[in-house]
Symmetry: C2
Subunit: 403 residues, 2 copies
Amino acid sequence: MINIAVLGYGTVGSGVVEVINTNHESINKRAGDEINIKYVLDLRDFPGDPVEKVLVHDYEVIVNDPEVDIVVEVMGGIEPAYTFVKRALQAGKSVSTSNKALVAKHGSELMEIAKEKNINFLFEASCGGGIPIIRALNSSLTADEIDEITGILNGTTNYMLYKMSTENCDFDTVLKEAQAKGYAEADPTADVGGADACRKIAILSSLAYGKFLNYEDIYTEGITKITPADMEYAKELGMTIKLLATSRRIGDSFYAMVAPFLVGQSSPLYSVNDVFNAVFVHGNVLGDAMFYGSGAGKLPTASAVVADVVDEAKHLHRNIMTNWSSYALKLMDMDEVEGRFFVRVSDTTMDEVEKAFGDVQTIEPDDLPDEFGFITPVMKQAEYYEKISKLTGKVLAMIRVKD
Amino acid sequence: MINIAVLGYGTVGSGVVEVINTNHESINKRAGDEINIKYVLDLRDFPGDPVEKVLVHDYEVIVNDPEVDIVVEVMGGIEPAYTFVKRALQAGKSVSTSNKALVAKHGSELMEIAKEKNINFLFEASCGGGIPIIRALNSSLTADEIDEITGILNGTTNYMLYKMSTENCDFDTVLKEAQAKGYAEADPTADVGGADACRKIAILSSLAYGKFLNYEDIYTEGITKITPADMEYAKELGMTIKLLATSRRIGDSFYAMVAPFLVGQSSPLYSVNDVFNAVFVHGNVLGDAMFYGSGAGKLPTASAVVADVVDEAKHLHRNIMTNWSSYALKLMDMDEVEGRFFVRVSDTTMDEVEKAFGDVQTIEPDDLPDEFGFITPVMKQAEYYEKISKLTGKVLAMIRVKD
């Protein structure tokens, strides 16, 4: 029997208990042993809930119990999660977590402790909910040098952009609807501002490139400025707007960013709609691959957490190697990053635009007679900013184009 | 140092050698040891090729060399692959193979030997080329009861259907084009007749449901009867036609089939185009997930083979548990399988159709004035065949609808 303790009986925590109870037979078969929930830690009481029998309020009970093999951290936030996880690992207990903030900030240190102790610190649920992308990076795409990861990693913003694109409504309306449906939090800043996606691409990049990418180094732009007019242009172009979290290897250099992008139909990311998430990966021998699924939600996230528990049960005193190291991944200056730029302008002429940018692709939607848009050729960001300065005061919006 | 032997220096075999040479540094790091190609087995000589130095013509050299830890079988076909693989496993050497025919026919026996010997028989490349679906089923989706797998598992037919749909040309024209491009073989029977996809869904289902599904039990229909007129209807419906290999759990029963299906835009499989493959999986807690990538090709397939080699190097004398067992998976009678059916008819009236089927959805493309189409409600296949018998002689085509 393998005893586990679940820290936090919120949405994901109760999902973990439900998944283990619902599928106990197949889970035990795959783990090769019986998975038993010995403790659930929460400050609250849950009178009448079956979990009552194993509920504790004091973490000391768990960390000091030598029978606990695996700790599941699903509280979220940095503290006390960080202290609890670190102490669990130091006590020789493997940890499975869904906490992206914790992994992005303290992942290197926690993985190091797990390695020393020959146990595991796994976090499949931290990026892309139920999508098994972390294990794919760790143990499937091992023959490849990964040179790109691009993800739709935030379900809230993907839902909002999808609604804006299909129902022609504005940001505020869609945000209220998303909040009413429980897809967006009361304070939506981390989602719509891109901070959530930023932490996830930091984690995925660290695993893919074998060096630690500090999320604070990543240029991050949210979707708050996207308007119905932008969506009109996207439609005219046969494209759609997605919040992408992306990182790329260019020779020996790397860049990473989170920003809204125009995405064309040739990209498999184009048709990732609603609250779904997807991670596109390019490997130097594999070519294109994409992983698609529910990026959030109680049961999909719990499914990933429990899959980590199964893996830890199968490797109870054996560290599963990862490619993450504590060496810092240095990013190139954003000025050096190349791409194409879609720009909306008014009170100017094609002549002025061509004087600044040379030949460009222009878009003139019928419904927007007072303005027009154009797409630049591929250029470095510094070059774009230098050229666009000639149109100061005439620029309504700029959105990057995914190539 | 871990010594491997590659059986067969054809397309995939030379890809394996290329991948190991190109990415040797990162591969060795992930394997935790140096991967050395000690032998390549082929009946042919390759004068001037760097592989010449390690080329052998006699399998006895490999199987009797105790220094060989891992055998890579990329010859294809049942014999001599089966004999070679069995002997390698019996000699305590792990095996990685891309050979779907071998796995579908002898997988149970070969996995059993690997388990006894505490080594591994891995076959990531056998289904969906570079798409890491097998490892996902084995070690990622372990918290779930899988209740559906539906794949676009054959690149040749997906390319052909995509071309038929976008370029409005007929089966023979597209087949010739695919052959000219090297996407279809001179004898395309296994691809266009569905036999290739059938073996792959047999393998994936055996892993997902934990019982051996014999590919010979699977109802299999190819794409040879699909016409430009069918594509016309698909377009009218906002759908597309894909060759799907699918299996489902309905309570305690299972069904499996390979057939062309009409697929709507709400399915992530809708936009899997060209030679790409994808595997859609539904888990009882995970919900929907999809894995997308190159289903064939020298380097993507070799990427998957080498990822297996890395996994075997990391688990040299430790069997990686799978959910496959030798117990037979019994399929329900195809008569009992439920679905919706799209039917094209001529020389009949809506009245006659409604007399047979009740209310149906009708489609009348402008370009096909001498016929019309309809989609039935959900019904068992037996019921469909009984009802359609009332329209004998008037049916031009029937295609299933993916729900």
